[in-house]
Every structure is written in C-alpha cells, then in structure tokens.
Amino acid sequence: MTGTIYTETVVYLAPPAFTQDVPYQVVIVTFADGSRITGRILGDRVAIGDPVEQAEVRNGVPFFRRVK
C-alpha cells in the first residue's frame, strides 16, 4: 500500500497511552483512489507530498515509511 503525505505533525504532548512514544509523527496519507487514512511514521520524518508505503499495522494502526 503506497500513498502520499497529505499532512503531518510531530506530537510532543500526548495522552498516557502514548507518552512513551513522544515525540512521534502522525500523518494523513492519501491513496491513489483518493481515500485517506491517519497513521504513524517509522524512520525518517516525512513532509507533505512525500511518497510513503505501509510498513506494518500495530493494533489496527497503519505505520508508514518514506519510499526511498
């Protein structure tokens, strides 16, 4: 599953369930069919327009990484 970064942020202040992950990047990815999903980033930070691929799914949450 590949797509493009529609928008992104890096979270510094998180609820208890995510405090151990801080700072972490949350993104919205647009797929080729126009649909979107909210997920997380593994590895290097990404910016709007970057191509990404889905690396894994943890607890139903898609994790993406930048396509080199």
């Binding site: 529609y6 928008t7 992104e8 942020t9 890096v10 979270v11 510094y12 202040l13 998180a14 609820p15 208890p16 369930a17 995510f18 405090t19 992950d21 972490y24 949350v26 993104v27 919205i28 979107r36 999903i37 909210t38 997920g39 997380r40 709007i48 607890n59 139903g60 949450v61 898609p62």
Partner: protein
Amino acid sequence: MRPVAVAAAGKTPFGAFPDRDLRSLAVEAGEKCLKNGHVSPSQVEAFYLGNFAGPSFVGQNHLAPYISTALGIRDVPATRFEAACASGGSAFFHAFSAVSAGLYDCVLVLGVEKMTSQPTARVTEILAGAGDCSGEIKAGSTFPSLFAMIARRHMYQFGTTREHLAAVAVKNHANGALNPDAHMRKAITLDQALNARPVAEPLGLYDCSLISDGAAAVLLVAADRARDFTDKPVRILGVAQASDFVALDQKPDITTFHAVRRASEKAYEMAGVGPRDIQFAEVHDCFTIAEIIALEDLGFVERGCGGPYEASGATARQGEKPINASGGLKAKGHPVGATGVAQICDVFAQIRCEAGDMQLKRHSLGLAQNLGGSGATCVVSILGNV
C-alpha cells in the same frame, strides 16, 4: 417561527479553581443570570445544559437535573446537550428553536465544564474523545495534533506562516488582559509566542487554548415578552447549527470547515445580513489556526487570506473587524461546555454597552461562532439591537 431575545446573562470567572466543584460553578452562573433577568426559578419553563465531559472530568452523569434542581428549577424539562466544544452553542441553538417554535416563553441555557481536577495528560485523553476513537485517536492523535495537521496543510496551500499564527495569540492575550474574568490576563510578545515549547508542530504552547473551569448562562425569552424582563433585550437575529464528519481524514479538504460555512450561510440568511455587516465577532480560537480559518469560513476574508489579515491588525480592538475582544478561548479560557454560552454572554454585553474595558466602538451587530471537535459541529449565532 417567532422572534427570540436574550434578556439576561451571568458568568463565573474562568480559571483554575481547585476548591470549586462543577455544580457550584453552574449554580453561580445560573443564579447571576436569573437575578439579572429578575426571574424566579419557577418562571423558567425549560433548562438547556451544554456540557462536554462532566462524566469523565468529575464522574457525574445526569447533569441537567443535577444542576437545575440546585438552582431551584423544578418539574420542567432539563436536558444536557453534548457536541464536544460546541456543547454550549448546541444547547443555545436548541433552546432558541423551542422558544421560537412557541413551546416556551422563558428558558435558561447554561454551559459548564470543570476540567482542572485532572492532570493535563488525562485532560488530553478526555478531549481526544471528541475525535474518531476507532481511527485518528487510536493512532496517537490529540486535539492539538489534529489542528496542527490542519495548520500544516493551510501553510502548504496558502503560505500561512507561524508569525500569522502567533499574531492571533498576541492579539487575544492583549484583549484578555482587559477582561477581569479571563483565565490569563497577561499580554505576550511575538517572540514569546514563536519560541514557546512545541505541543504538536507547528503549534506551540501559545497556539493552544487553556484548560479551564467555568460556567456561563443566558436567559432566552419570546421577544414580545422581553420587556417584562429587561429594558435592553438583545435580539437573536439568526442562529444555525451544522454538522460534518468527525474524523479529519474523512473530510475532502481540511483547510476549511464545511459545518462553519453551512451554519454561517444559514445564520446570515435568517438574519438578513452578510459578513460585511458584522461589526465584531467572538470566534472559536481553540487553536490559533482555528481563528484564521474561522475568518475565512465566516466570509470575513477570502480563503487563504486569514493569516495576513490577522497580522495586519484588522482584527485587533481598534481594527476594522475586532475578533475575540474578550480574549477568546486563548486567553479568556476554554471550559469546553461553557464556551459557546460564554461567547453569547460576551456578544450580549458588547451590544448592551456593558463590556467595561473591553467595550468596542461599533457594537450593534455581533456574531458568535462555536466549533466542536475538528469541525464536526458548528453553531453560528448573530445578535443585534432590537
């Protein structure tokens, strides 16, 4: 549909009040409002409560009769409205609808939230319940992060800058310094806003509204009976509520709020006025980017022009379109369920020329915009002199 007026208002200060509970705040605002309207509890024909998360913040449910009976209001319908940060606005909209339809002549609308008894991380978690918990929230989104993603996209599409965002914070803090009931009465500099610690990039601490306790109330009456309650009633010329997707990733375009556009179109049509006629507004600046987008969605400026408009000074007290003369959610404070009702109180006070140091020169036609979640609910109200 018959005309409806606001006859009286009452508020608590907003802030962190460790020795006050939710009900005592609500009762204080409600009693002030009834006293200002020279109304006894037995004259109130229905009670509309705006509250977002009392059950989570303080562990109390069934809040509407819990509060109305403490005010001495007995027997009549008492109902809680929950629409995230637009809970107060939604209670106001539904109260208006009932009076306008002829169901009641005199109703009390009250908004309250008691937030500061929980640590910030837990508050963040409770607020996140206004998002889509099966998707965006499960992925680690917080409300600051949802608005941060909105800001990033707005910057990308329109060239909005961090300085534009900071201009909103500086202006609203300057306004809040004049508000005796504001949570934070402290002016800040542009440098302070720009160099604050990050919360969710590109938003820093001063881009975010406050975690507050507080309550606000207004008395709505049939306009033809308004003079029984006050010499200075204020007419509700237009009010509308609209809705949209809860999840940010379901919206086709996150740089505009569809519900704000729909609610404002309806409210303008009902009032028979346009955005240019509005002399001042209280808008929902839960985050600085939200005020910038509100200016665009309410039609005060073209799309993408909100940032430069803020930086130009046009929205300052002395500007052509004063926005959030009360200090807004940013400085006045944001006790979530109280916010939408407090906005009505602030517009009401301006129109009656009772806003003290906050009083604006042009004050006969004002607008309040109350947003829920990342735009899933919006209530827009237009108030004016009778």
